[in-house]
Amino acid sequence: MTAGDQQGARARIADADAISGSHVVGVTEVLGGVPKLATGLPGFDHVTMGGLPLGRTTLLVGPAGSAKTVIAGQFLAEGVHRGQPGVFVTFEEPAADLRLNLGTLGWDITAWEQQDLWRFVDASPVAGTEQVEVGDYNFAGLMARIGHAVDQTAAQRIVIDSVGAVFGMFNDPTMVRSQLHRLAMELRRMGLTVIITAEAAPESSGSVSRHGVEEFVADNVVILRNQLEDEKRRRTIEVLKLRGAMHSKGEYPFTVLPGQGVVVIPLSVMSLTQGSTVERITTGNVEVDAMTNGGFFRDSIVLASGATGTGKTLMVTEFMAGGCETGDRCLFFAYEESRDQIFRNARGWGRDFEQYERDERLRLVATYPEVASLEDHLVEIKNEIDEFRPNRIAIDSLSALERIGTTKGFREFIISLTSFVKAQRVAGLFTSTTSALLGGTSITEGHISTLTDAIVLLRYVETFGQVRRGMTVLKMRGSMHDRDIREFTIDGNGLHVGAPFRDVAGILTGRVVSRNGAVNDVEG
């Protein structure tokens, strides 16, 4: 090391020693824990309760194709955005490839390199260069290169991708292990916050990573998984340990999106801190407003459940139109019908969705569920909400989304969706299709019913040679509501609520029986 290098190293050590407060940009102080650096992975900083511990080494373990490199790149890019330069040490992909691949996330890495905010140490294998090992060696060459890059940029973050590739370059794993250990000690001494990527070990080995590197490099271990479940791919991230720091336990699903990189879905980590309001909003139908004692609450989530054709989409249409007419911004996610169909149906019920869209009060997002994974849909929904800033959203239907994920994945989707929507303080109307035409429930309901503030059931009611429609408000948190099961009809103006069914029972179960054996009649 030159004198200049040593001076740089000493300055960094001093920095590292001084790091006890939050004077470094982007450092979050955690109560009773260690200061942390934001990772730049949406959602992951919730799971880690602030990011990765400052000045520590985190081992990122996962199988091939589990997005280790992308995550590592995002960690460095977040540093750049926060004025903390970073060094990317690559043993696998050449720097030229990484510039291109990571560039698809919208980063101009070349420009960052010119501004000394980012450096590659390119230790990827050169094609056609074979290397023969004869006798002892050490990694002073690598250390000098890393030290140089760190000094040139005054780096605070560093990524080593991946240690598995280093083991592949040399014959003697014991030698590599001891050299990597020295490298890890040196990076720690320099006060850098480090991500080291490694390949996952086979389950049976009892070790987290191949070559057992976690034993000597890692303060923290984060595990990525990439599993096939019911023929659907599920990617998760789990914080196994975060030495001396609080974090959320368990696996969290994530997705990799073009232009955004890895997005972690933190599920129940989202805090339920929102207050509740007594403000009412119209359901878009005066008669339904009456059943709900004045409309839905401004910040409530309502589930409308019913068999196909019972009028769920109509309820949504009226809910959206009612919002547009009262000055709300309304966002409509349609997963069952095309844009044209929805517009045509709305017109048939006397609602002009085209005009609402032109007035920018309504946005309709019609997507076929199978085009993306549940995680991708969730992120799209969040992005649309962030962008459009609606007062109301509707999803028609959750059941259509249910079929593209696993049961577990769908449950996580519902939890994450509802907690996100609640945090936004918007009113949500979600629909769920029951599989049985008469009575019945859906899996969707099982997952969402406890998370919703109100449930409206729409049912076919068979009464002696006639199929009619019935509606009831099953629950409505914090409000009085009509407890009757009322008949309703649908015409060119929409939905009309009539009188309660009397003298019949079993509407909800689908087995309607007459109380007195007489022809069932609707009262009034």
């Binding site: 004869v134 002073a140 060459g141 690598l142 140089h148 040399f170």
Partner: protein, 99 residues
Amino acid sequence: MMADSTFTFTTYVDGQEMARAVTARLSELCDAHGVQPQIRVVDVGEQPQAAEEGNVIGVPTVVRESPRPRRRVIGALDDTRRVSNALGLDMYDGTGERR
């Protein structure tokens, strides 16, 4: 001395002690085959940029720059037979003539 028996090497080392040992060992091996070495020494601590350009991880690393193709040996050059083979020195007899 034949022109084609001149070999050029770059040796990447850490510190003067390693520089001396590797240079001496390499010269000794070349002598044994009647090969004339030209050795450029890069101390990675002083020239980290050169180590970057040479993609050096472990030291000592010896790169035979010419004749082409490049050959690369890492380690303390202990095993005479293997080093001579890896650097292509064993193509030459003791007088610098090609076998």
